[in-house]
C-alpha cells in the first residue's frame, strides 16, 4: 500500500520547480556514511486485502472476551459498551484531529473535554478535573509528584500495599526523581492497615494513599487516615474505580484532596491493556498545580460562550523545566468515549450497572462457598473478591478448558471480578468448575 497521493511524475515536476533532479538531492545534508545502504529488512509491502487477512489471522489466534466469559478484573473490566459510543468515536472530525490549540476551529473537541471534566467532578465529588492522563497508575504517580512538589520539605508518600501492585511499581519508577520517598505499609486481612499507616504520618508526609475498592476488591475505611494526614497538613489521595462511584462514597465525601483512577471501565474496550485513560480530579485550591490540559469556559469577542485550553502557565510548553509535569498528548479520545458512555447509560443506568456488578459478586461469593471454597478475606467487597485455591495456575487452566477466562492469579487464590456482562448461569458454571477442582 501507499498512502502518497502524488504520482512520481508529479514529484518530478515539483523537483524541477525547485531546480532539483532527484529525490536524493533532498538529503544532501545527511552524510553518506549515515545513509541506509541496502534498504530496511522488513517484510514485503502488502495491499489492503492481504493486510486485512493478515490482521484477521492474528486476531483469530487469540481467545477474546467475546468468545469466553471473562472473570478477570484487577484494574481492567469487561464492561458492556453501548453501540452508539464507537459509532460516534468513528466520526473522523474527532479522531483525526489533534490537541485543540486553535479554539475557533476546535470548539467541538473543547466542549467535549469541558463536559468530560464536569462528569469526572460529578462522579468523584471533586472541584476540578484535567482533560485526562495516560492511565490510572501514571495518574496516581502524578498525584504523588504534585503532593511532593507542593510543600518543600514534604517527600514522604505513605501507601498501603493493598493498592494495585502495578501502581506501586509505577510509583517506584517515578520516585527515581529522588523527590519522593515511598513508604509501603503492609495490609492486614486484605485491607489497608490504617493504624500502621497513621503511625507513619509525620510533618514530612506529603500524602497518604488508599485505593477504593482496593486491589483485592475489599472496601477500605479511610476515615481515620483522612483525619490523621490532614492533621499533619499532608494530602489524602484516593485511587478509585469510576463505575462503583455510582453507589460508593465519593472521594469528595471522604475528604480527599486528589482523586485519580483508571477510566477504562467507562467505555474503553479492554484492548490488552490500552489505550485507556487516567482521570485526575482535585480540590479547587490545587487547580493551578494539577498536571495536564484543562479546558475552561470563556467568551469570544462577541460575548458568545466558548471554550479554550486554559491555565497553560502550568504546562511544559510554557514552563519548560519548571513545569510540574511533562505530559503533552493525553488520552483525549478515551476521555471522549468516557463522556459518551456516561451520557448513554445515564445516571440511573450507571447505578444499575454498579448494583448489578455488586449483586453478581455477592451471588458468586455464595456460590463458590457452597461449592466448598473459601474466600481469602472475610471483608466487605463490592464487585471483586479473592477465592482460595491451592494452585491458581492449574485452576485457571481448568477454567479455560471449560470455556471460561478465569481470574487474576494471586499466590494462593484467584481474584475474580463480576461485571454486568456476567450472568447467573456463567457464575454457576464457574463455581461448579472451581468446586470440582477441589474434589480432585
Amino acid at each position: 500500500m501507499k498512502y502518497i497521493p502524488n504520482p512520481p511524475w508529479v514529484a518530478k515536476d515539483m523537483l524541477k520547480t525547485m531546480g532539483l533532479n532527484s529525490l536524493d538531492d533532498l538529503f544532501s545534508d545527511i552524510k553518506d556514511d549515515l545513509k541506509i545502504k541496502e534498504g530496511l529488512t522488513l517484510p514485503p509491502a502488502m495491499g489492503e486485502m492481504e493486510l486485512r487477512s493478515c490482521m484477521k489471522d492474528l486476531a483469530l489466534r487469540n481467545i477474546s472476551t467475546e468468545d469466553y466469559p471473562c472473570f478477570l478484573g484487577a484494574g481492567a473490566y469487561d464492561r458492556y459498551i453501548p453501540a452508539a459510543v464507537d459509532q460516534l468515536l468513528l466520526r473522523s472530525e474527532f479522531y483525526t484531529a489533534y490537541t485543540p490549540y486553535q479554539p475557533e476551529i476546535s470548539q467541538g473537541i473543547l466542549q467535549s473535554i469541558f463536559e468530560y471534566q464536569t462528569m469526572i467532578c460529578k462522579l468523584t465529588g471533586m472541584d476540578v478535573s484535567n482533560a485526562s492522563m495516560y492511565d490510572g497508575g501514571s495518574a496516581l504517580a502524578e498525584a504523588c509528584n504534585l503532593a511532593c512538589n507542593s510543600g518543600k520539605e514534604r517527600r514522604k508518600i505513605i501507601i498501603s500495599d493493598t493498592v494495585h501492585p502495578e501502581y506501586l511499581e509505577i510509583l517506584k519508577a517515578y520516585s527515581l526523581s529522588g523527590r519522593m520517598e515511598v513508604v509501603l505499609v503492609p495490609g492486614r486481612e486484605g485491607a489497608a492497615d490504617i493504624d500502621a499507616m497513621v503511625a507513619e504520618i509525620d510533618n514530612q508526609t506529603a500524602a497518604a494513599i488508599i485505593q477504593q475498592p482496593n486491589f483485592f476488591g475489599v472496601l477500605e475505611n479511610g476515615e481515620k487516615l483522612e483525619q490523621a494526614v490532614h492533621a499533619h497538613k499532608g494530602m489524602f489521595i484516593m485511587a478509585v474505580e469510576p463505575v462503583s462511584l455510582a453507589l460508593l462514597k465519593s472521594p469528595g465525601e471522604w475528604g480527599a484532596d486528589i482523586a485519580v483512577g483508571e477510566g477504562q471501565p467507562l467505555g474503553c474496550s479492554l484492548s490488552l491493556g490500552g489505550p485507556y485513560l487516567g482521570f485526575f480530579a482535585a480540590r479547587r485550591d490545587l487547580m493551578r498545580k494539577i498536571p495536564g490540559r484543562i479546558v475552561g469556559q470563556t467568551t469570544d469577542l462577541d460575548g458568545k460562550r466558548s471554550y479554550v485550553l486554559t491555565l497553560q502557565a502550568r504546562e511544559q510548553h510554557i514552563r519548560r523545566e519548571k513545569a510540574g509535569s511533562n505530559i503533552c498528548s493525553n488520552e483525549a479520545l478515551c476521555a471522549l468515549a468516557a463522556s459518551m458512555y456516561l451520557a448513554f447509560v445515564g445516571e440511573e443506568g450507571l447505578k444499575e450497572i454498579a448494583l448489578r456488578s455488586h449483586q453478581l459478586a455477592l451471588y458468586a461469593g455464595k456460590q463458590v462457598e457452597e461449592a466448598g471454597l473459601e474466600l481469602k478475606y472475610q471483608q466487605p467487597y463490592f464487585m471483586e473478591f479473592a477465592v482460595k485455591v491451592s494452585d491458581p495456575a492449574a485452576a485457571n487452566q481448568k477454567l479455560l478448558a471449560n470455556g471460561i477466562i478465569g481470574g487474576y492469579q494471586l499466590e494462593d487464590a484467584l481474584l475474580l471480578a463480576f461485571t454486568e456482562k456476567r450472568s447467573r448461569a456463567e457464575i454457576d458454571h464457574l463455581a461448579a468448575v472451581l468446586g470440582g477442582k477441589m474434589d480432585e
Binding site: Y3, F94, L247, L272, R424
Partner: protein, 483 residues
C-alpha cells in the same frame, strides 16, 4: 454555540436497561456498611439515545481533523490515518482481550508486540524496544529514567544535569526535571543547529546526557551529529533522541547509526495512528545493547514457537504505566509498517521532505523564512514581512487561514525564532492541496498589506471569533454548574 449536555435532557428519558439477572435485587443499604455508601447523587446527564447521538454529532461538526482537510501542524505529523487499521483495531480478537489473560490465549496479539519490537529496532537501528510508553513525553520519561538508572548502576552519582538545546520541545526540559535532573540549555548557532563549541564548553562529568531532536525542531538535520555524539560520549554522557521528527529521515537514515543511545518514536506521528483530538498516542522507547537491562518490564519474548512475557529483568526501571502499552494504537502502527514495507517507509519520508521543500520554495517570495535552505519534513516561516505597518502577527495569519478552510500550522514554537509558524505538510498531501494552500497564503500576504483588518479580526467564518484567554485564566470556569 452548542448547548452543554447538562443543559439538555429530561429526567426519565434515558432508556438504557440491563437484562434481568434472575436474582433478587439486593438492597445496598443492607449488603454494605453505610460508611462506604454515597450520599450525593452523581447528577449525570439524562438523555434519550437519539438526543445523545445528536449532541455528539453536533460537537463533531464543530471540530476539524485530517479527514476534513489540510492540517499542516508542525512537529505533529498530521498524516492520513488509513481506514483499514481502524477496522483491524475493532476486531473482537484484538479489541476484546484482557491484559491479564494467560499468554497461550493471546498468541496473535503477542506476535504483534514481538514483531513490532523487532520492526522498530530495524527501522531505527537500535537493539531493543519497549512498547510501554503512552505518548512521546512518556517515552522521554522512560528514556531519561533509563539514563539515570544506567549511571546509578555504574556507581556514577555525580551526573545530576541534563543538556537540552534551546530549540527543544518543552517536554524535553520538563521530563529531565521530572526525573530529578537540572537542565542546562545548549545554544543553537546561526544555522539553527547545535552550537558545538557551546556544547563542548558545557559538557562535563556532571552531565548525564543530551536530549536531541533530529531533524531538529526547525526542520533541519543536525549535520554534525556524529561530532555531537562524540563530545557527549567522550565525557561519559548518553545521547537521547526525541523521535517526534522521525518522519524526516525514516527509511533514509537511522538514529541508531548516528550515535544515539536511547530514543523514543511517536506512533501517532510517523506511523500514522490517528491523533484522537489529543491522544491516545504511543511512544515506544528503543535502546542500544548496553541499556537493554534497564528497559521497563515486561518485554515480549519468543520462546521456541511461543510468545511470552519476560518479567525477569532485575535491573529494569520497572513500570511507567499499567499493563504493556497502548496495544490498540500499536497494532495500527504495526499494520501501517506491514502495508508500506521498507521501501514504502522511505517513499513516505522522501515525499514528506519533497512536500516541505516545495512549499518553502513557493512561499519564500511572500514570507520571511529565517533559515531558508534545504529542510527535512517541516520548515519555519514568520510574519516579519507582514509586521509593518499594520502590526500583523503570526497569530493573525494563522487565524485568517481558518477562514480559508485550513487548520493553522503550529505557531510560536520553537521559541528561538520570533513569531514562528511551523509548517509540516506530510507526504499524504497532494500537490493540488499544497498549491491551494500556497495560493491562500499568497492572498493572505496581500491582504496583510491592503486590508489588514481581514487578518486582525480573523477568523470571520468560524463558529466563534477569537476568545478571551485572559478571562479564562483569571476566573477559571472549568466545569459546568447548575444555575
Amino acid at each position: 454555540m452548542s448547548k452543554l449536555i447538562f443543559e439538555k435532557g429530561v429526567k426519565g428519558s434515558n432508556s438504557f436497561r440491563l437484562p434481568s439477572a434472575g436474582l433478587p435485587q439486593p438492597d445496598i443499604n443492607h449488603t454494605l456498611p453505610p460508611i462506604f455508601l454515597r450520599h450525593k447523587d452523581t447528577d449525570l446527564p439524562q438523555l434519550s439515545e437519539v438526543e445523545a447521538v445528536r449532541h455528539f454529532t453536533e460537537l463533531s461538526k464543530l471540530a476539524y481533523g485530517v479527514d476534513n482537510g489540510f492540517y499542516p501542524l508542525g512537529s505533529c505529523t498530521m498524516k492520513y490515518s488509513p481506514k483499514i487499521n481502524e477496522w483491524a483495531a475493532r476486531l473482537p480478537g484484538l479489541a476484546a482481550l484482557h491484559p491479564y489473560q494467560v499468554p497461550e490465549t493471546i498468541q496473535g496479539a503477542l506476535q504483534i508486540y514481538y514483531e513490532m519490537q523487532e520492526f522498530l529496532a530495524e527501522i531505527t537501528g537500535m537493539d531493543g524496544f519497549t512498547l510501554q510508553p503512552a505518548a512521546g513525553a512518556h517515552g522521554e520519561m522512560v528514556g531519561v529514567m533509563i539514563i539515570k538508572a544506567y549511571h546509578l548502576y555504574q556507581g556514577d552519582r555525580e551526573r545530576t544535569k541534563m543538556m537540552v538545546p534551546d530549540s527543544a520541545h518543552g517536554t524535553n526540559p520538563a521530563t529531565a526535571n521530572m526525573i530529578g535532573f537540572d537542565v542546562i540549555e545548549v545554544k543553537s548557532n546561526q544555522r539553527g543547529l547545535v552550537d558545538l563549541d557551546d556544547l563542548k564548553s558545557k559538557m562535563n562529568k556532571e552531565v548525564a546526557g543530551l536530549m536531541l531532536t533530529n531533524p531538529n525542531t526547525l526542520g533541519l538535520f543536525e549535520e554534525e551529529i556524529q561530532d555531537i555524539a562524540a563530545v557527549v560520549h567522550e565525557a561519559g554522557g548518553l545521547l537521547y533522541y526525541d523521535g517526534a521528527n522521525l518522519n524526516g529521515v525514516i527509511g533514509v537514515a537511522r538514529p541508531g547509526d548516528m550515535g544515539f543511545d536511547v530514543i523514543h518514536v511517536n506512533l501517532h506521528k510517523t506511523f500514522s495512528t490517528p491523533h484522537g483530538g489529543g491522544g491516545p498516542g504511543a511512544g515506544p522507547v528503543g535502546v542500544k545493547e548496553h541499556l537493554l537491562p534497564f528497559l521497563p518490564k515486561p518485554l515480549v519474548v519468543k520462546e521456541g514457537e511461543l510468545y511470552n512475557f519476560d518479567y525477569d529483568r532485575p535491573l529494569s526501571i520497572g513500570k511507567a504505566r499499567n499493563f504493556y502499552g497502548n496495544f490498540g494504537v500499536i497494532l495500527k502502527a504495526y499494520a501501517y509498517i506491514k502495508a508500506l514495507g521498507g521501501e514504502g517507509l522511505k517513499d513516505a519520508c522522501q515525499n514528506a521532505v519533497l512536500n516541505a521543500n516545495y512549499m518553502r520554495h513557493q512561499l519564500r517570495d511572500d514570507y520571511n523564512i529565517p533559515l531558508d535552505r534545504l529542510c527535512k519534513h517541516e520548515f519555519i516561516i514568520n510574519s516579519k514581512k507582514q509586521a509593518d505597518p499594520h502590526g500583523i502577527s503570526t497569530m493573525d495569519i494563522a487565524k485568517r487561514l481558518i477562514d480559508y478552510g485550513y487548520h493553522p500550522p503550529t505557531v510560536y514554537f520553537p521559541l528561538i525564532i520570533s513569531e514562528a509558524m511551523m509548517i509540516e505538510p506530510t507526504e499524504t498531501e497532494s500537490k493540488e492541496r499544497l498549491d491551494d494552500f500556497i495560493a491562500a497564503m499568497k492572498i493572505i500576504a496581500k491582504e496583510a498589506k491592503e486590508a489588514p483588518e481581514l487578518l486582525l479580526d480573523a477568523p470571520h467564518n468560524a463558529v466563534i471569533r477569537r476568545v478571551d484567554e485572559v478571562k479564562a485564566a483569571r476566573k477559571p470556569v472549568v466545569k459546568w454548574e447548575a444555575p
